[in-house]
């Protein structure tokens, strides 16, 4: 019945990569003017499906019907000609050019043989205005937030050709709540213009907020396409991971159990008035063995800044730190590692993995840095350590010699975790350890944090997903505007934390 208003119909798509069948007989239908969420764990086949649709890869079997005609999409250029545009997670704009230049690049209106800059700016402004974005288009793109940049990228994608289908690949992974709302408003406007949107995300909440239908992929197979309002969340997650969520129940139990082992008198880390002007206001923090402390707050509230200070990436300009009753003088990552502090940084690609090196080299990196130049670990020992953590954390890699760039995001995160576990830290700081990671791996990492606490290690857990902080943390510190505002312990309501984060608790 609805076949007629399908803009895209993909039938029986198969795609094999050496050693892996990435897509097995996948069907996909997209209606005109709908927002359809495409969800699945890492490696479920979302990216491959998109790559087939945008001409980066070609399917081995199956047909694609676009706008009523069967097509063979030859190249990304061909896909764009048809009207399929993609905006990727990493924004592809020239950040030193102005917003107007970025939007109008290659199609600048001319006057007397030179570019008519007034017209360029005016047209760009108009286009943005139509989508309800009012910004100064003469400023460089780089001076705006990632959210605005993303929207400029969308606008440019729309301008280049007459777009019928817009694919948004993880557009919200680096946006905060407010920015996400802004993006959603734009998406709704595009939808009302009849543009169909494929929305790929890991955030289940956002799926329910914006999408009309949901397509679930798992292990390269099509699980189904559902009306969003008739599919309960738990059922969706169960479909994505192919099992029920017992893990979360047992986590709750283990959290309560571990909380009884925390010895309040055994202070591992004592921070007094530590601060750095322009980054984080002076704060106090006490950390006990076996404890998980969550840091909650919006992007830019100072949660990452605390992590950076404690690990010695930034130098504090006030306050003091005592660890194991010994005052800490030198702040640098190397000194911190020596003391037994580890940090999984927020930006996994830029600050975490060394993509060109192998899994083994990445895992032993911090351990080796701590040992110095001349106590080089023997090859055999290196493999033993790497294999131990590959097994323990279930890192999906063909071997320890695999280049890390070839692993999926979740597995890269596990490699960084392995790097830190290898130095056997006393304090593990995790900054957004589950960003861009599928539900199954998320649960694994949360479990890992609790089991580390059980071993008597202390963890600081930072996440923009409040639910996750609540699930793992014995104590929660709320930050707002570069300030520590409140500390919660025991049973806490999600609502009251959110109110504190927003500054409306009174």
């Amino acid at each position: 019945m609805a076949e007629t208003n399908n803009i895209i119909t993909m039938k029986g798509i198969c795609k094999t990569f050496p050693g892996v069948q990435a897509l097995k007989n996948v069907d996909f239908h997209l209606k005109q003017g709908e927002i359809q969420a495409l969800v699945g764990e890492n490696g479920a086949g979302k990216s491959t499906l998109i790559k087939v649709l945008t001409g980066i890869e070609r399917q081995e079997q199956g047909t694609i019907t676009f706008d009523g005609k069967e097509v063979a999409i030859r190249s990304t250029h061909h896909a764009q000609e048809l009207g399929i545009s993609t905006v990727y997670q990493e924004v592809n704009l020239c950040s030193n050019l102005t917003v107007a230049e970025n939007i109008m690049i290659g199609r600048e209106p001319m006057k007397l043989g030179s570019i008519d800059w007034k017209a360029v700016n005016k047209q760009a402004e108009q286009i943005l205005d139509e989508l309800g974005i009012s910004i100064d288009v003469t400023q460089p793109v780089g001076s705006y937030s990632v959210a605005i940049q993303q929207m400029v990228a969308i606008v440019r994608a729309l301008e280049i050709s007459s777009v019928k289908v817009l694919i948004l690949d993880e557009p919200t992974s680096s946006l905060d709540t407010h920015e996400t709302e802004q993006l959603f408003r734009v998406m709704c406007q595009l939808k009302s213009k009849g543009i169909a949107i494929i929305f790929i995300t890991h955030f289940i909440g956002q799926v329910y907020e914006i999408s009309d239908r949901i397509t679930v992929l798992r292990n390269g197979e099509w699980i189904g396409t559902y009306q969003t309002d008739s599919l309960p969340r738990l059922e969706l997650i169960a479909k994505m991971i192919g099992r029920s969520l017992d893990a979360y129940d047992s986590m709750q139990k283990s959290k309560i159990e571990t909380s009884q082992h925390i010895k309040k008198e055994d202070v591992l880390l004592d921070v007094k008035g530590l601060g750095l002007s322009g980054s984080i206001q002076p704060f106090d923090l006490e950390l006990h063995r076996g404890e998980v402390v969550g840091l909650a707050g919006l992007l830019g509230s100072g949660r990452t800044e605390i992590a950076r200070l404690l690990f010695g990436v930034d130098q504090p300009d006030s306050g003091s730190v005592t660890m194991n009753n010994k005052p800490v003088k030198d702040f640098s990552p190397l000194e911190s590692i020596g003391r037994g502090i580890a940090l999984c940084p927020e930006d996994r690609k830029a600050e975490g993995v060394v993509g060109e090196l192998t899994v083994r080299e990445n895992i032993i990196l911090a351990l080796q840095a701590n040992r110095g130049y001349f106590k080089y670990l023997r090859q055999q020992t290196q493999y033993e350590i790497a294999d131990k953590y590959i097994k323990m954390l279930k890192i999906a890699t063909p071997s320890a010699d695999q280049v890390v760039n070839n692993l999926s995001g979740g597995n890269q995160q596990k490699v960084i975790l392995a790097r830190w576990l290898a130095i056997n830290p006393q304090i593990l700081i995790l900054d957004e350890p589950t960003r861009g990671i599928d539900v199954g791996t998320k649960a694994e990492i949360q479990m890992l944090v609790l089991s580390l606490a059980e071993e008597g290690k202390a963890c600081i857990f930072i996440s923009s997903e409040l639910e996750e902080v609540l699930r793992t943390s014995h104590r929660i510190i709320v930050l707002r505007d570069q300030q520590k505002v409140k500390e919660f312990s025991g049973e806490v309501e999600e609502q009251s934390i959110m109110k504190t984060m927003a500054g409306s608790e009174e």
Binding site: F17, P18, G19, V20, A22, G43, A44, G45, K46, S47, T48, K51, I56, E57, R58, E60, F311, V313, P333, L334, S336, I337, L343, P345, A350, E351, G352, V353, V354, G355, E356, L357, E361, L365, A366, Q368, A369, N370, R371, G372, Y373, F374, K375, Y376, L377, V403, N406, L407, S408, R419
Partner: protein, 361 residues
């Protein structure tokens, strides 16, 4: 889902890192075999070997040694343009230490006789070598401080010493080209023990550097810093110190090369020693299969790359190409090799070979 095509491609490349430089060398030698009669002839005189192949190795030794140091600098994501100038500085220091009297304007007949005496040197040879290498290492440290600690882009930071280095070398010898009469010093480049002595230096440097980088954690840290300096810093690696060490070592290598070069021509010719050799060294590293962006490195590849450069030069001279045109042909050889490394060209070749298969789907 990761795409597996670049993965396989990468695996192929990494499995055969020495494949391209070796086949480039083989191609040039094949050319010689066909077009130059007796190119491979090797004579034995007084129990020592002579011939074109030996010449390639002997005259390529300075570039080989420069390339070893340059490899580490490039692996950290940098570049050192000053090695040619540092060679000149090391040569000037060495010459001055052996013969400081030339600085005087008037020489007594007594000193005049002393200067021309092949057994006379002011400072002992070991001190000459040690101090020249120390000065060269300090030059490298200077580069390292500028690049790693002052945050100046390597291209600009090392350009400073590239330009001023020859001036400094002139200042050291007061603008005089010092003749070196001291016989033992000339042995460095001219002694033959079955094969030329510089060859032993190259092999020794290669082995020492290999041990230094692969038997300690330095090699891993250099590759890590070159691939992602920030992640390395977050993992507790002192990325600035690693860079500093790489530049210092590169300066040291330039010093060794400078001593060989000045020993070869028996003067401190600040204007010509090591002239343009920084470019040969960089090209050798690239031909050797190292990425200019840093990360993974292969020392042996760079040395083979240096030999490719030298073999081209000697082959051209052997078939009588004029010296000026040799530069152009060298450029052509480099271009061909570099094109093979280009990702675009490789992908293009890959598409060409797989196109038909793709269309049949």
């Amino acid at each position: 889902m990761k795409s597996f095509t670049p993965y396989l491609l990468w695996k192929k490349i990494s499995a055969s890192k020495l494949f391209f430089p070796l086949s480039a060398l083989a191609l040039i030698l094949l050319f010689d075999l066909i077009f130059i009669p007796n190119f491979f002839a090797i004579q034995v005189r007084d129990g020592n070997l002579y011939g074109n192949l030996v010449d390639i190795l002997r005259s390529g030794s300075t570039v080989c040694i420069l390339a070893i140091g340059m490899t580490l600098v490039i692996a950290t994501g940098g570049i050192d343009l000053s090695v040619g100038a540092v060679m000149a500085i090391a040569a000037s220091v060495a010459a001055l230490m052996m013969n400081p009297y030339v600085m005087a304007t008037v020489l007594s007949p007594e000193t005049q006789r002393l200067i021309n005496d092949p057994t006379f040197t002011f400072a002992p040879l070991w001190a000459v070598i040690a101090v020249s290498l120390l000065v060269a290492t300090i030059c490298g440290l200077w580069n390292g401080v500028l690049v790693a600690y002052a945050g100046i882009p390597a291209m600009v930071g090392t350009l400073i010493l590239m330009i001023s280095g020859r001036g400094i070398a002139q200042l050291i010898t007061n603008g005089i080209r010092i003749q070196i009469f001291y016989e033992p010093f000339s042995y460095i480049a001219n002694l033959w023990i079955l094969v030329p002595f510089p060859l032993y230096i190259v092999v020794l440097m290669l082995i020492l550097t290999w041990l230094l980088t692969r038997k300690t954690s330095l090699g891993l840290f250099i590759e890590s810093v070159g691939a992602n300096a920030r992640s390395s810093f977050f993992s507790g690696i002192d990325e600035k110190l690693i860079k500093l060490l790489a530049y210092a070592f590169c300066g040291f290598c330039a010093g060794v090369a400078g001593l060989i070069a000045s020993s070869n021509i028996k003067t401190s010719d600040a204007n010509n020693i090591g002239l343009m050799l920084e470019l040969d060294a960089i090209l050798a590293v690239v031909i050797g299969g190292n990425l200019m962006t840093g990360g993974r490195f292969t020392l042996l590849g760079s040395v083979i790359g240096a030999l490719v450069m030298q073999a081209t030069t000697i082959s051209m001279y052997s078939i009588g190409v004029p010296a000026n045109a040799v530069m152009a042909i060298k450029g052509l050889v480099v271009l061909l090799v570099i094109l093979l490394y280009s990702k675009q060209v490789r992908e293009f070749m890959y598409r060409l070979t797989t196109q038909n298969r793709g269309n049949r789907l």
